[in-house]
Subunit: 168 residues, 2 copies
């Protein structure tokens, strides 16, 4: 009992010390909150998407993204596909292999440059993404339902400024 109180006292003292320590320095809390909220929102979105939408189709976030990009852009070289999906090329190789084994995409080595490989949707891949995407888009709408249209566009624009500054 006395032990437990002592623990609590120590904890409170610790917290005061720590807050004082943080207060000492002119940290940039506005930047901190933007960055940490971006990360937390992304993690929440991904977990929920995989559980509530993609699990029904046995797709991971990355697998879905690959199908989506191939759907929008058509046949693509591996390097471009990796860039578009925002994945390391080594990561992409494995995931494309998985999708290929499941018959959703196919690889083809280019005739004029044998180093290059293109990836494209199979018929089954096409029907899959056509099936998944409406559900995924409904999920996206639900996730952002507390924002009105202007706010969504604002958020997208602010994020775009962060992304493009640091990718280009």
């Amino acid at each position: 009992m006395a032990d437990s109180n002592q623990q609590t006292d120590e904890m409170l003292a610790n917290e005061r010390d720590i807050r004082a320590r943080l207060g000492d320095h002119p940290f940039d809390f506005d930047s901190l909150h933007v960055i940490s909220n971006i990360y937390r929102a992304a993690a929440t979105i991904r977990r929920r998407a995989e559980r509530e939408v993609l699990a029904d189709y046995n797709l991971s976030w990355g697998g879905f993204t690959i199908l989506w990009v191939l759907w929008i852009w058509g046949e693509m070289e591996t390097a471009n596909l990796a860039a578009e999906c925002d994945l390391a090329k080594g990561t992409l190789t494995g995931m494309v292999s998985t999708l290929e084994q499941r018959g959703l995409v196919e690889r083809e080595r280019m005739a004029n440059d044998r180093r290059r490989v293109t990836v494209s949707l199979t018929d089954e891949g096409l029907t899959t993404i056509e099936d998944v995407f409406p559900n995924f888009n409904a999920f996206e709408a639900e996730m952002s339902a507390d924002l009105d249209t202007d706010e969504k566009r604002m958020a997208a624009e602010l994020l775009r400024r962060i992304i493009t500054r640091h990718e280009g």
Copy 2:
């Protein structure tokens, strides 16, 4: 050459088909762009943070987050720490073990309930996070440097609305 043109033609035709297919349905592009930009921004931020800031201290994003949370909040039970770090509790176990082996945090089984475990910073963990955090915060500022203060607060608020709706 004719082969290459044929490929290009096929690709263009594919793209037209696909765009037409997308155009057929009333998809919610505003929601789509918010969600995909959140995810892409988060991935960019994490990769750069790990490479440019955390690698010097041999910390992963998750490891850094644990140290940071313990710094701010002091000694915490495992379950609360997992929630605060936005990690599955099983994930936390492994990462705390790693940090413990490196002498940055320590575990203690609670006396009044032997199931519970508290985690806290060691002295070395404290000096580490005191050393890392200013650099990390500078990195956060750099990542969001194209946003002015109002825009940062706006972005943080919009993201908070997405997070809280779907975590609470």
